[in-house]
């Protein structure tokens, strides 16, 4: 498939030139501004003024106005024409002679301005010398293997350089100092200033006519082997891949970014940007194809046509219309340098956006997204394709002219359901990606609302994340949408995000009450409770407390018990108010009080007493029911008992008053214990309940965290109770023995032995006695150890003290030992702590005596 880059327009009809004279042909053409010159094979130069006209349909036509023509009078063809507008001269090659004529009158300039013996010539369009009043031309001379450089002035020509070449040149082009020459066997680049040359590639100029065409600065286009159009720079390298022409190309022209080539049946147009064939124009009898300052002229031997490039935008739009996205973008980017920067940016972005939509239409989402991104697409253009996604408040209107031809998604997919789903999935991922980026700046509401609608519609799991986190969804627009898709839970979240907690809760309550259908969360009730427990608005908590507690007291009470610990003073619920309110809810109030007393450890008598009373009442209530389950009863009683034991804040007398007339003897005993009325408690335990284990436990827990003597006191009391002489029974005796034997360590053995009746056998109390002995031994040894340790510690201190106080001692032969009063005869001596030196042997002797005496004293003590 091709595009239309050029349009063919007839410029000079046959009638204006040679009419029906069969043998007269166009030989060469020059176009300079509005001046069109035509040289013929019968030595005429025709001059026309070219008028360009744009028709209403955008097409261009040319009209020509014939000017005076000139016969050079040589009966030879006019081979070449070249205008030098700055000099007002036309350079004419005719009969191997270059001559100058006036551009307007076509009058010959007098002699002195002729070059003879010229095969062909070329004008340097990029001369090194900056003189604007001369033109540099390069001439291939008739002289074998000779090239000449001339300067052409208004009325004279001047030779600058003559070079001889290794082969006969047949075509030449010139840029700066660089000549690009076609020799018979190859092309070369020749620097006429330095004389250095560079081979390009071999080419048989005799077999096929060479083409040497300047493309731009230091770059040439050459006819290569196999019908290639080769690009070569002055440095002798190729910077672009070749274009592929036919084998018999006779002319080439360049009109950026296109290369045009003429062969016997066609004009082919390739892009220099991607080297692809873009357009083929059928054209018979083509004779000349040349470009002149952006104009491309094509001629047969009789007529002249213009090849008018279509405007770039039109070409790009044509490419896009045939979905050739990459080519369109290459073409646009190739024009970067020829269009002002700001205009280019607008054009470029628009093309990228259009390309994005084309690929989007082909469901090539990844590529489309890339183009949308590069083209800075207003994301709403894309959203607006999807019906009803933009919020009703959106001010967006699609850009004009439209970026695509799609009315909406249904039109694009022609109703194909699968495709619609894919498109929606794409938009979801795209919006999700861009919503936090710059792309969404200025249209966050539109983006988020559209995303919410898509999530709701497709049942996407991210819906909840969207509504629960920071978003810009337009509430009024989203409400009906979420309702439509039964996303009530999400709707509640959205209300919550919009600070309408009351509405949110109302909706959720309706879901729980099954007035609305949405099973997003199976645990919605718990969610509401959780929500309320974190709700800082007390009014709301109170408003929905009744509903919550009526649903489930145990969970519902969390709205009071699970409140954040570090809640502000202002919003903190007053426990007294809550307790008062919870009177209606017998379960809830217990949970609440437990929360206050047990979890939060609030040391307030009223709460503790209240809780104890509630436990008690609960137990009595259960107990009075005929069909109570023993499990539950014992559970409740266990709770009561534990609480009575552990708490010490409740009003004991008050509870005792309530408990006295019930069956709760054990609890009664606990209460007495709290009152330190242990005898009463033990009486109940031992004589009423005969629960000796409980009695033992009583002693243990009552003396917990108390000193040993207190514990011993309790155990002694218990033992006394067992051995009450008024109430002796074998049962009690056994209990007493067991108590002694199992808790021997608590008892004061001497006290016990005094109490024990004489008729009890040793064997009976054996474990107790052993333990008592062991304990006694143990305490003796422990005190010995302690004594020894204290003694050694004392020694250490003494040693330290001596070290601090020590003074030098003088020892001489005159000094005597304090013990034996003999003098010292060697340096060894013992130094007592009072500073007295003695002989070592004397000290040893004394020590021995001392210990012996001690032993003696100890021995007498023991006996």
């Amino acid at each position: 498939m091709s595009i239309k880059a050029f349009e063919l327009c007839l410029a000079v009809e046959r009638d204006l030139l040679m009419g029906d004279k069969a043998r007269i042909n166009i030989e060469c053409i020059e176009c300079c501004g509005k001046n069109l010159y035509i040289g013929t094979n019968d030595c005429f130069i025709f001059h026309f003024l070219l008028e360009e006209k744009s028709l209403a349909n955008g097409k261009q036509t040319f009209s020509v106005q014939r000017q005076p023509h000139k016969y050079l009078g040589l009966k030879k063809p006019v081979n070449e024409l070249k205008a030098a507008s700055a000099l007002n001269r036309l350079i004419v090659l005719c009969d191997n002679t270059i001559m100058l004529v006036n551009m307007l009158s076509l009058d010959l300039i007098p002699s002195g301005s002729k070059i003879k013996g010229v095969v062909t010539f070329t004008v340097n369009e990029n001369p090194v010398s900056g003189d604007p009043f001369c033109v540099e031309i390069c001439v291939i001379s008739i002289k074998k293997r000779t090239i000449q450089i001339y300067m052409v002035y208004e009325d004279k020509v001047q030779i600058v350089k003559e070079l001889s070449t290794p082969e006969q040149p047949s075509a030449v082009s010139l840029d700066g100092y660089f000549l690009c020459l076609a020799f018979t066997t190859q092309y070369i680049i020749l620097n006429y200033n330095t004389g250095t040359s560079q081979d390009l590639f071999p080419y048989d100029s005799e077999e096929k006519k060479p083409i040497v065409k300047r493309v731009g600065r230091e770059e040439f286009l050459l006819a290569g082997p196999g019908g290639l159009g080769m690009f070569a720079t002055a440095a002798g390298v190729s910077q672009r891949a070749p274009v592929h022409w036919s084998e018999n190309v006779i002319g080439a022209a360049v009109c950026y970014p296109y290369v045009l080539a003429l062969d016997d049946g066609f004009v082919t147009i390739h892009s220099m940007l991607d080297q692809q064939l873009k357009q083929t124009l059928s054209f018979r009898d083509g004779h000349i194809l040349q470009d002149f300052e952006g104009k491309v002229i094509l001629a047969t031997t009789k007529e002249v046509y213009m090849l008018v490039p279509l405007p770039l935008e039109r070409q790009i739009q044509d490419l896009l219309a045939s979905q050739r996205v990459e080519e369109a973008i290459v073409l646009a980017e190739g024009a970067r340098r020829t269009i002002p920067k700001d205009k280019f940016q607008v054009l470029h972005r628009r093309i990228l956006q259009q390309s994005g939509f084309i690929l989007f239409g082909q469901l090539q989402f990844l590529e489309a997204k890339e183009y949308f991104r590069k083209g800075h697409l207003d994301v709403r253009e894309l959203i607006s394709l999807y019906p009803l996604l933009l919020p009703s408040t959106s001010t967006f209107t699609r850009c004009h002219p439209p970026l695509h031809a799609f009315a909406d998604l249904n039109h694009l997919t022609q109703g194909d359901h699968n495709k619609i789903i894919k498109c929606k999935q794409f938009l979801i991922s795209y919006l999700n990606e861009v919503r936090t980026t710059d792309v969404a700046n200025g249209c966050k509401e539109d983006v988020d609302t559209a995303l919410l609608k898509l999530y709701a519609e497709t049942g996407h799991e991210s819906l909840l994340d969207l509504v629960a986190s920071e978003n810009s969804c337009v509430l009024v627009d989203c409400v009906p949408w979420l309702e439509k898709y039964h996303k009530y839970f999400a709707l509640g979240l959205l209300y919550h995000y919009n600070r309408q907690d009351d509405t949110a809760i109302q909706i959720w309550i309706k879901i729980v009450n099954r007035d609305l259908q949405d099973n997003t969360r199976a645990d919605l009730f718990e969610y509401i409770v959780d929500f309320l427990s974190f709700c800082s608005n007390q009014e709301l908590v109170w408003k929905y407390a009744d509903w919550v507690l009526q649903q489930n007291e145990k969970i519902g009470v969390h709205i009071f018990t699970r409140r954040p610990v570090n809640e502000d003073k202002g919003v903190k619920l007053n426990p007294d108010v809550v307790i008062k309110y919870l009177h209606k809810y017998p379960q809830a109030i217990v949970f609440y009080l437990e929360h206050l007393v047990l979890d939060r450890n609030i040391q307030k008598e009223a709460f503790h007493t209240h809780l104890a009373v509630l436990y008690l009442e609960r137990f009595l209530d259960l107990y009075s029911q005929k069909k109570h389950s023993s499990d539950e009863l014992s559970y409740v009683r266990g709770k009561l008992r534990t609480f009575l034991q552990q708490s010490s804040l409740y009003r004991v007398h008050f509870i005792l008053g309530k408990i006295k007339d019930t069956q709760l003897d054990l609890e009664c005993a606990i209460l007495y214990g709290k009152l330190e009325e242990h005898d009463k408690a033990m009486n109940i335990l031992v004589h009423q309940l005969k629960d000796f284990k409980a009695a033992e436990d009583y002693c243990i827990w009552n003396s917990k965290d108390r000193d040993f003597s207190y514990r011993q006191k309790l155990f002694h009391m218990l033992l006394s109770t067992y051995m009450d002489p008024l109430l002796t029974s074998s049962e009690l005796s056994v209990a007493a023995v067991d108590l002694l034997n199992s808790h021997a360590e608590v008892f004061d053995a001497t006290w016990v032995l005094r109490l024990v009746p004489d008729n009890w056998s040793m064997q009976l109390l054996c474990p107790f006695l052993i333990e008592a002995m062991r304990k006694s031994m143990h305490s003796t040894r422990m005190s010995q150890v302690a004594l020894a340790l204290a003694h050694s510690e004392n020694l250490i201190y003494k040693h330290e003290k001596l070290k601090c106080q020590a003074e030098k001692v003088m020892l001489s032969e005159k000094k005597g030992c304090q013990l034996c009063h003999n003098t010292f005869n060697n340096p060894e001596f013992v130094w007592y702590s009072n500073g007295v030196p003695v002989h070592t042997h004397c000290a040893m002797k004394r020590n021995k005596n001392l210990t012996d005496m001690k032993h003696l004293r100890d021995a007498s003590n023991h006996t």
């Binding site: 190859q186 081979d199 390009l200 590639f201 071999p202 080419y203 290569g224 082997p225 196999g226 290639l228 080769m230 070569a232 440095a235 002798g236 390298v237 190729s238 910077q239 672009r240 891949a241 070749p242 592929h244 940007l273 080297q275 190739g334």
Partner: protein, 233 residues
């Protein structure tokens, strides 16, 4: 259009798989290509550098263009077909001379393509490969061809190239590192080949830039630096 910093040229006889190698590297897949006309060009972004890769036409008709394509090349990939001895011989006979125009420090790589066709490179060892080890090229399996060029041949060629270029073997890359066997079809060694070469040409770019800097006088930047000539006052 981005200006390439350095040029890499793929040379080799017709139908050895030059275009397929480049295609495998750039498009990550193998497709049937038609015989390249003239040459094709691909620009690869390698880190901060642009590397132009020229895929040349192997056909005799376009042989004359080779010198121009190679002019100033920093690396030349001489490609042959491991199942075709002639394609290997052509490298020395016909293509080596084209590289005369390449840059003086040009890096050469010798690449035997179509490794997937030979029995040695089959992913699953063929049980009949053992039996077929005789030199006569009569493979039982029709899909496998006999390998006509072994890596030692390539290494020897590489050494001859260095001699031809009058380069000291010690100063150049080791022959073993510069001879590759690849398969554009399976992708075997293709990335390795190109990326090894890219890494090797980067120092050349830097060297060229450094030289370029010293030779260019930037009039905008030279203020204040160096002694000012007195004639300006």
């Amino acid at each position: 259009m981005k200006k390439p910093d350095v040029k890499l040229v793929i040379l080799g006889d017709v139908n050895v798989g030059k275009t397929s190698l480049l295609h495998r590297y750039t498009e990550r897949r193998f497709k049937d290509t038609v015989s390249t006309v003239g040459g094709a060009f691909f620009l690869k972004q390698w880190g901060p550098y642009n590397i132009s890769i020229w895929d040349t036409a192997g056909r005799e008709q376009f042989h004359g263009l080779g010198s121009m394509y190679c002019r100033g090349a920093a690396a030349v990939v001489l490609t042959y077909d491991v199942t075709n001895w002639q394609s290997f011989a052509e490298l020395e006979d016909r293509f080596l001379a084209l590289t005369d125009t390449a840059s003086a420090d040009c890096i050469f790589a010798i690449v035997g393509n179509k490794a997937d066709l030979t029995d040695e490179c089959a992913s699953v060892p063929h049980p009949e490969a053992e039996r077929d080890a005789c030199p006569c090229p009569s493979p039982v399996s029709t899909t496998k061809s006999h390998k006509q060029v072994v890596k030692e041949d390539a290494v020897a060629l590489y050494k001859r190239i260095l001699k031809y270029k009058m380069l000291e073997e010690k100063q150049c890359q080791a022959a073993e590192a510069m001879c590759f066997e690849t398969s554009a079809k399976s992708g075997y060694n293709v990335d390795l080949l190109f990326e090894t070469l890219f890494d090797m040409v980067v120092p050349g770019i830097l060297r060229k830039r450094a030289e370029g800097l010293s030779q260019t006088v930037d009039l905008m930047e030279c203020k204040g630096t160096g002694p000012k000539s007195s004639c300006c006052y």
